[in-house]
């Protein structure tokens, strides 16, 4: 194709384009259609998606925390607990959260000790004890007076958990009874040690 043909063709295309304009009626109809659309359509949809997701999360979280260890949503409860404790919380809050989760696991072990296998109960007890150890470690990083308070709370929690285990022993399966007795003893020993440490911290703080 030579340049003249190309130039002529381009001129024809340009002329054809210039002759095409929307009729005023079409323009107005299109304008009405475009601007009749809901304002912020995408924003509204985004908001609806976020609201629905949040609502689902709340419902599932509530159901997960109500789930017993042998329930279908217990894995979600575990995941949420781990997520909570992985957040960059202040150490004092973190330690208290560890105490709370530790006690909940041990009480859950007591609750299912009459129907669940020894493996399940043992896992729950070990998990609870691990959270308590974590709380103790976290407390060690805190100021003496705060540490003393955390250790007092920890000891109180351990005694409550030990009570829950003791009360469940009569109804537990034979294998679970041994596990509960063993952990009850360990919890009471831990509580005693934590109380002693707490008192020492208190005295140390008083001497200062």
């Amino acid at each position: 194709m030579n340049d003249d043909v190309e130039r002529t063709l381009v001129a024809r295309l340009e002329a054809a384009g210039r002759g095409v304009d929307p009729a005023s009626g079409a323009w107005a109809r299109a304008r009405a259609r475009v601007f009749a659309a809901q304002p912020q359509r995408s924003h509204a949809r985004w908001f609806a998606v976020v609201a629905a997701t949040l609502a689902l999360m709340i419902v599932f979280s509530a159901a997960a925390y109500a789930s017993p260890p042998d329930g279908p949503l217990f894995a979600l409860q575990r995941g949420l607990d781990r997520t909570l404790l992985a957040l960059p919380l202040p150490s004092e809050v973190h330690a208290r959260a560890q105490v709370g989760v530790g006690e909940r696991r041990i009480v859950q072990a007591a609750q299912v000790s009459s129907r669940s296998s020894a493996d399940v109960v043992s896992d729950l007890l070990d998990e609870g004890s691990a959270y308590y150890r974590g709380a103790r470690t976290t407390a060690g990083t805190l100021r003496a007076d705060v540490r003393a308070q955390i250790l007092r709370d920890l000891a109180h929690s351990e005694r409550s958990a030990a009570d829950a285990l003791r009360e469940s022993i009569p109804s537990a399966t034979q294998k679970n009874q041994q596990l509960l007795e063993q952990h009850e003893g360990e919890l009471n020993d831990g509580a005693y040690d934590d109380e002693q440490r707490s008192e020492n911290e208190g005295e140390h703080e008083g001497n200062n």
Partner: protein, 176 residues
């Protein structure tokens, strides 16, 4: 600059008046682009309106400059046209359609050109329509088609050659 930066920023923030101002300026170009890809003026009107609806819906997500905005909206228009062609399976029919245009508004040469354009590959047709009938620069066409300026120029060159061939055949078969 077809849509200046201040007006575009306002439209992004949801200012309907600003978007309306952009619409008034660009609607004829979008319509013209749609017209040369459509069966009729009514089809072109629908496609152009749909393109602006999509633009209104997604304008918050547009991250380009005001200079890039015409290319962006033409890209939306092109997607609308391709979607409509797919959904109605009209592409093949459009190529073969001997009548197509609205006789009340189309001059003879426009009829001939429109038919010949309809027989080109979609990319070549889009480049020729955007460059010469809508009047965009090669850079703006590149933005509309997600191609480099060099690729647009190649498509333009091949498109003109193809169109010349098609018109040669058309002339033989018509009484122009």
């Amino acid at each position: 600059v077809p849509a200046d930066a201040v007006r575009l920023d306002a439209a992004r923030r949801g200012d309907r008046t600003a978007f309306a101002s952009i619409y008034e300026e660009l609607y004829p170009k979008v319509y013209r682009f749609a017209y040369f890809h459509s069966h009729s003026a009514a089809d072109a009107e629908d496609a152009a309106a749909e393109a602006f609806l999509r633009a209104l819906e997604h304008i918050r997500g547009f991250r380009g400059t005001a200079e890039q905005f015409p290319g962006w909206i033409m890209r939306i228009a092109r997607n609308v046209i391709i979607d409509r062609a797919r959904s109605t399976r009209r592409t093949a029919q459009m190529v073969a359609d001997p009548v197509g245009p609205d006789p009340a508004t189309d001059a003879d040469d426009r009829v001939v050109l429109r038919q010949a354009l309809g027989r080109l590959r979609e990319e070549q047709r889009s480049v020729l329509v955007l460059r010469f009938m809508v009047g965009l620069s090669a850079r703006e066409v590149g933005a509309a088609m997600a191609k480099t300026e060099g690729a647009v120029e190649q498509l333009q060159h091949r498109g003109l050659a193809s169109l010349a061939r098609e018109l040669g055949e058309t002339r033989e078969g018509t009484t122009r």
